[in-house]
Amino acid sequence: MKKVSRRSLLKAGLAGGVAAGLAGRPASARATASFGGYPESMGVLVDLTRCIGCRSCEAACNAEQHLPEPDLPFDDTSVFEEKRRTTERAYTVVNRYETPAAEHPLYRKIQCNHCNEPACLSSCFVNAYRKTPEGAVIYDPTVCVGCRTCMVACPFYVPAYAYSSATNPVIKKCIFCYDTRLRYGRPPACVEACPQEALTFGRRQDLIKMGHERIRNHPGRYVDHIYGETEVGGTAWMYLSSVPFDQVGFDTDLGTAPIISYVKEFLTIVPMVLTIWPALFVGFHLLATRKENARDKEKKS
């Protein structure tokens, strides 16, 4: 048996490691463990039973983020005729739901849920997104190429795009008022504007406790679930509802795994193909052409 020296083994291992490191990229590294969220991160608990659909939050957001004036004023309730979504001109919208289970219509506020493991962040190929320790998912418009993969990836259909701009179109979404408020420990503008205390700002961990307490203390008032506690790996914005969540526009089929976990299956094959294919196909080549090579050798000798 041929002796394999320690040195040659190390060399080969090192070369392979470098190749894999260069080629395999941190893709799989990030995909190895799931991230439960920053321990001190903040969040908001939205209680649908308290919301009266006054749209004060929409108005406050509009002012805080210097968004263009809407077509209809914020006290116009005709907007409830249809189900709206977030747009480049509105980072948060409130929709009305008539449900058989509740006597009164229910209102649901939509904005970025600020996931613990954001799909937008993990799908972005220029690393424009960042999850801050405070809990916000923020976005750097100066590096955005405009591929809109984050919009495809977001399970909540939140990011909007400034399609109207030809020269500087960027992603438009709620940033938890990070620049002006959250980083200084202050609640976002919408929470501060809510007259009903339907929105509660606090540490995410505390809000989860508070939500479960409310469910326990008011039997029959709530569905026994906090939407966002576990959905797609957990979100900073969470919801309490008196009717099943799918009746008020929530997607209840999202599962508890973060979106990145669905992509891992592909990401793990990447380093394997990069490292195995060269040797495999050179081997095929040598096998396929061995007769010709033998003939060439004979000719030479």
Partner: protein, 431 residues
């Protein structure tokens, strides 16, 4: 053009043939041996050019408008459907149809099947142009196309699937340019460059296999970011990349059969005997490869349904549509290819190839547009979007044809001989 040649008017084949004895000058190389006036007459005589002119007349202003007024003007600017026809057709369909380059590169250079050499260059060119125009489509779709190099040099997001696609398509484009460059070097008469590329060809080809495996698969993996949005029958987290990769094999081979049969029919004067004489046999060879890939794809598609437990969806309307796609796009071409191989009928293989190409387009558009947001509503592309897609495809056609007319793709540039050897006879020009 064939009609013109048949009418006894001067055709490009005859003109080039007339200059056989002499070295090729710029006139032979660029104007196919015609004078400027003759060449223009030829251009105007061809009805295809009139159709192209109409497309450009409508399409170019719309493309300009897209960049002046923004994406919201050219498309519906949908927040729910961020990706429209530009990517569904331009990226997700063009790229698999361009897999021919790495398939034939592997066949000839790695597996040593030199009998496929007459069609290798066409396969490589088909790959190069397909990828190049996929990038053109991408540039139309990107909000800020001038930042295309950002993921490479400015701000890197290496954990994203699109990062892999960007790097691999860019690298593979360079590999394909190198692979096709010998034809260009022969045409401009620079032998040194050709030899340099020749010495790297095995490395380039294997790089091509690696890059193609991963980015063809990665295009599928892009959809794994949207588990709730793509209909479960078109979505499979573990198999999506494999579905896209395997289907790119028969997509590329079938596209090559389609393109080569078009060349044989409409560009006979430019093909040499080596190409024309071997094409039927090679078509059957490509059909064998396609049918193997189709059979594999069919099995893995069924495994995908079984693995994810999607059987019940087959009973719904979506399931019918899924089975329709699978039947027309996979089972029918598979059956036709098999029959063509058994009875050695290249013509039937060509029919099968057309269907397979259409089937791939159907699958990719279904995944990106039809089965996407299946719980919401169906997006129908804006007419300007359709016009832009058609215009860029017309541009692709023009560039493709320009190169095939001139570079030694369909004919062989004999080594050690300054002038190309035209093996055409008068009768073959007329056919």
């Amino acid at each position: 053009m064939r009609a013109a040649v048949a009418n006894g008017k001067l055709g490009p084949g005859e003109a080039v043939q007339a200059g056989e004895a002499a070295r090729w000058t710029l006139r032979e190389k660029l104007l196919l041996g015609l004078s400027g006036r003759q060449y223009l007459a030829l251009v105007f005589r061809n009805p295809v050019n009139w159709v192209l002119a109409c497309i450009f007349a409508v399409g170019v202003p719309v493309i300009v408008g897209r960049f002046v007024f923004g994406l919201g003007w050219a498309t519906h600017g949908s927040y729910d459907y961020p990706w429209g026809l530009f990517l569904a057709w331009g990226l997700f369909t063009m790229v698999p149809l361009s897999a021919s380059g790495f398939m034939l590169g592997t066949t000839v250079e790695v597996f040593g099947r030199t009998d496929f050499k007459p069609i290798e260059r066409l396969a490589l060119l088909n790959g190069l142009l397909g990828y190049f125009f996929a990038v053109v489509y991408l540039q139309v779709d990107l909000g800020q196309p001038w930042r295309l190099i950002y993921p490479m040099f400015v701000s890197l997001g290496p954990a994203a699937v699109l990062f892999l696609v960007a790097w691999h398509v860019a690298t593979y484009l360079s590999v394909q340019i190198a692979e096709v460059s010998p034809a260009f070097f022969e045409w401009i008469g620079w032998q040194r460059g050709k030899q340099v590329v020749r010495s790297m060809i095995l490395g380039l080809t294997i790089a091509g296999i690696i890059l193609s495996t991963l980015h063809q698969g990665a295009l599928g993996a892009l959809f794994t970011y949207a588990p709730g949005k793509v209909h479960p029958l078109w979505y499979s987290a573990p198999f999506q990349w494999f579905h896209f990769f395997i289907s790119s094999i028969f997509a590329g081979l079938s596209m090559l059969i389609v393109v080569s049969s078009l060349c044989k029919r409409f560009m006979t004067w430019r093909c040499d005997e080596r190409f024309l004489g071997s094409l039927d046999r090679l078509t059957i060879g490509l059909a064998k490869g396609s049918s193997l890939a189709l059979a594999t794809y069919l099995v893995v598609k069924i495994i995908g349904v079984a693995h994810d437990g999607d059987w019940l969806y087959l009973a719904t309307g979506w399931g019918q549509y899924f089975l329709f796609e699978l039947f027309v796009g996979v089972i029918v071409p598979l059956a036709l290819f098999t029959r063509a191989i058994r009875h050695d009928r290249a013509g039937l293989a060509r029919v099968a190839a057309w269907i397979a190409v259409a089937g791939i387009a159907l699958n990719r558009i279904n995944t990106a547009l039809v089965a996407f947001n299946w719980k919401l509503y169906q997006e129908v592309p804006h007419w300007r979007e359709v016009v832009i897609v058609a215009t860029i495809y017309a541009l692709y056609f023009v560039v493709y044809r320009f190169i095939l007319y001139r570079w030694p793709i369909l004919y062989e540039w004999r080594e050690g001989q300054e002038e190309p050897c035209m093996t055409l006879s008068r009768s073959s020009t007329g056919g």
